[in-house]
């Protein structure tokens, strides 16, 4: 890891190495126009509307009334709000910790030339094709304490009170999102692992490195950019998880799995307090942005350079 990093740094010092080769024109601004337009229309405009809504009191009927900072002051004194942010971060961190190693292994394996690999990869990919709702309903039935798997394996699950206890419910949420999203991240790693030049492995083999050494000294460093991409996707996805909580736990038991996104739904659509809901949504946007920025900074993604140095 360190060897590659220092090589990259050295490479960037040379003009023309890390950046664009001289003589190739930069693409015009026109390319970005359609996407920018959609982004403004479907992301920025609603974001501004939500921000405005967060300063009002609105039940969904009639027109919103201006309420000043009311929603925000209540929010910052709301223990459930603070707990929900903490829970969102916890679930996200657990998701990253569990899914990253699994998907790297699966992705690297799927990038190889083994027999039956294509068939098995397709099978592993199935969970991603199902909607989160279908996945949640499926797991809910599977984990039913009296008629599902826990009833058949009491030695492992005890009374099967998985969704009704704090640790159990959090564990199930992590398990279900892992089951569903590992294929996506494995796909990212599969692509990245395929891009690793074969000569590196050939050279390593000549030097006497075994499979394990090759994995840690060639594959993993070469996957660095893919890891960052995948982690950012997991962070954003984790912080905004909603459907699995809605169907599996309803934020319960009590408020033990009331993550921020679900709390927003509860306030806005169950309590009919859309102003408070908007404030929570905006806060979530801020937190998600902040965490993404931290990930980008810490990982050095913003200074990212090619991984092909030393090859030519």
């Amino acid at each position: 890891m360190t060897a590659t990093a220092s090589r990259v740094r050295r490479a960037r010092a040379l003009p023309g190495r890390g950046g664009r080769p001289p003589g190739v024109a930069r693409p015009g601004i026109g390319w970005a126009l359609p996407a920018t337009l959609f982004f403004v229309l479907f992301a920025l405009v609603p974001l501004v509307l939500v921000a405005v809504l967060s300063f009002t009191s609105w039940s969904g009927l009639g027109s919103p009334e201006f309420a000043g900072l009311d929603n925000w002051t209540t929010l910052f004194h709301d223990p459930v709000m603070i707990k929900s942010l903490w829970l969102s971060v916890l679930l996200t961190a657990l998701g990253v910790a569990v899914q990253t190693p699994l998907s790297i292994l699966l992705g690297v394996w799927a990038a190889g030339p083994q027999r039956n690999r294509a068939v098995l990869s397709a099978v592993f990919f199935v969970p991603l094709l199902l909607s989160a709702t279908a996945v949640s309903v499926l797991w809910r039935a599977l984990l039913d304490p009296n008629f599902g798997v826990p009833a058949q394996a009491r030695w492992l699950f005890g009374d099967g009170n998985l969704l009704g206890s704090r640790t159990g419910a959090i564990g199930v949420l992590v398990l279900v999102s892992t089951w569903q999203f590992t294929p996506l991240h494995a796909l990212i790693y599969q692509g990245a692992a395929r891009a690793v030049p074969v000569v590196l492995y050939q050279a390593a083999a000549i030097d006497g490195a075994g499979t394990v050494r090759q994995f840690f000294h060639i594959t993993l460093p070469q996957l660095r950019n893919a890891i960052i991409t995948s982690v950012i996707l997991m962070v954003v996805g984790g912080l905004t998880t909603f459907d699995t909580v809605l169907i599996l736990t309803q934020g319960g038991p009590g408020t033990d799995t009331t993550i921020t996104a679900f709390y927003m739904y509860q306030k806005a659509f169950k309590g009919f307090d859309f102003g408070a809901g908007a404030a929570i949504a905006l806060l979530l946007v801020l937190v998600a942005t902040l965490i993404s920025l931290v990930v980008v900074r810490v990982s050095g993604y913003d200074k990212m350079a090619g991984t092909k140095d030393g090859l030519s």
């Binding site: 609603p46 969904g60 009927l61 009704g164 206890s165 954003v236 408020t255 949504a281 942005t289 913003d302």
Partner: protein, 432 residues
């Protein structure tokens, strides 16, 4: 390179927004449009069978067609509130009368039915007045009863009780004895869909009613927060605690739901002895386990509490459900004809066939011909003799209190709130 940071930021913000958007955009209910049809939005459950029949009957003779849209029960209220003020709003919709339609009336979204009633007095006179009046707001009628009355009953599996040598309990002490006998037999004494939270609430509603009488809750609802801290309130809580600690509900009730058939299956499969549930349990069981519904499904009133202030005949639940009409509908005349069907003989008999007890004045004469006259007669007696009919707490309070009530109830059951904590949570509810 700076562009990359901005991109990440946008991805983050965008994703959060997309989620928010897809939530608000989830209204795909019926739209009246310009076509010759009107949409009827109903709570989706086993009782939809009758609603489908009624719509089919209506469409046979009408040029303007009715279209039935069902929304899964747990999401019904949210869905309704989000679509009712939009072009996708239904023409006719299911509700609980009273408090549940008051905000819509205030916002001027509902059509008063008085003109329809003037043309066809039967729209009012064919229903029991006490029930019809639940949907009268500020002296104007806004709804017509459309299902059955729904008292909460203590259901049981007769085979399981017989096997354990237990009689349906008439008193609280008998219930505790039954619980310990059933436990010895290795079955969960009482099935509870704690994952849905509202089934748990029913235990509070009945115990408070039996211990303190209906007055305590009425006072609390009117704004008297001290009512929650009264000795009666604490006594009801301590009795509940005793029942929970006796493992009457087993230990995994919060992982079980009623809405996905979990708790009902426990009762039907003989893994549990009792279930406290609204009268719709009968149609639910008939739908999911017809054999059990026919042979072993027992029912009875909630046990009396020795020394309690409440009347042993008091009940809790819902008086009935109603159809209300939105003001923007273009087919008021056709809808008037549709609502007429709610007191037709065909309607009464098909409601009776699924175990629902319609609240029309003609119900009693159809009872004898029904498939399950005993159950219906029992309900009718119970409802007509009840000195009080307590509306479910989560529907009696304003909607913003539903979540806090459900959370407090669940947390008291699983032990994360003690009596003081529960009382504090109830005192924090907003009152009129």
């Amino acid at each position: 390179m700076k562009i990359r940071i901005r991109l990440a930021r946008c991805v983050a913000g965008g994703a959060a927004l997309v989620m928010g958007l897809s939530l608000t955009a989830c209204g795909d209910g019926g739209s009246a449009g310009g076509s010759q049809e009107f949409h009827v939005l109903v709570y989706g459950d086993a009782a939809n069978k009758v609603e489908k029949e009624i719509v089919a009957t209506f469409n046979k003779t009408s040029d303007v067609k009715a279209v039935l849209d069902t929304v899964p029960g747990a999401d019904y209220q949210q869905k309704l509130q989000t679509v009712i003020n939009t072009p996708q709003a239904p023409d006719v919709f299911f509700n609980w009368g009273g408090g549940s339609i008051q905000p819509f009336v205030k916002a001027g979204l509902l059509l008063p039915l008085d003109d329809m009633i003037k043309k066809d007095p039967g729209l009012k006179s064919n229903f029991l007045p006490s029930v019809f009046n639940t949907a009268v707001v500020d002296g104007k009628a806004y709804g017509v009863p459309m299902r059955g009355t729904q008292p909460v009953l203590l259901f049981s599996n007769r085979a399981v009780l017989a096997d354990a040598g237990v009689q349906p309990p008439a008193t609280w002490a008998e219930l505790l004895t039954a619980v310990s006998r059933l436990k010895e037999k290795g079955v969960t004494p009482i099935a509870l869909g704690g994952g849905d939270q509202w089934p748990t609430l029913m235990w509070f509603e009945y115990l408070y009613d039996r211990v303190a009488g209906p007055g305590l809750f009425e006072k609390a609802l009117a704004g008297d927060k001290d009512a929650w801290d009264s000795p009666d309130s604490r006594k009801a809580l301590s009795m509940l605690k005793e029942l929970i600690d006796a493992k009457a509900f087993g230990t995994n009730y919060d992982s079980v739901k009623f809405t996905d058939g979990g708790s009902a299956a426990l009762l039907a499969s003989g893994k549990a002895g009792f279930e406290l549930m609204g009268s719709w349990e009968y149609s639910t069981q008939q739908d999911a386990s017809p054999d059990f519904a026919k042979k072993d499904l027992g029912y009875g009133a909630f046990p009396t509490v020795e020394g309690g202030k409440g009347d042993a005949a008091g009940i809790v639940g819902n008086t009935n459900n109603f159809y209300s009409v939105t003001k923007k509908t273009k087919h008021a005349d056709a809808i008037a004809k549709f609502l007429k069907l709610m007191y037709s003989d065909a309607f009464v008999t098909s409601q009776l066939s699924i175990g629902n007890l319609p609240t029309t004045t003609t119900t009693e004469k159809h009872l004898a011909g029904a498939a399950n006259p005993d159950y219906l007669k029992y309900q009718l007696d119970l409802v007509s003799k009840a000195p009080s009919f307590q509306l479910s707490w989560d529907q009696a309070y304003a909607p913003e209190n539903i979540t806090p009530i459900h959370q407090a109830v669940q947390q008291f059951f699983n032990g994360s709130l003690d009596a003081d904590g529960f009382i504090k949570a109830m005192q924090a509810l907003t009152t009129a």
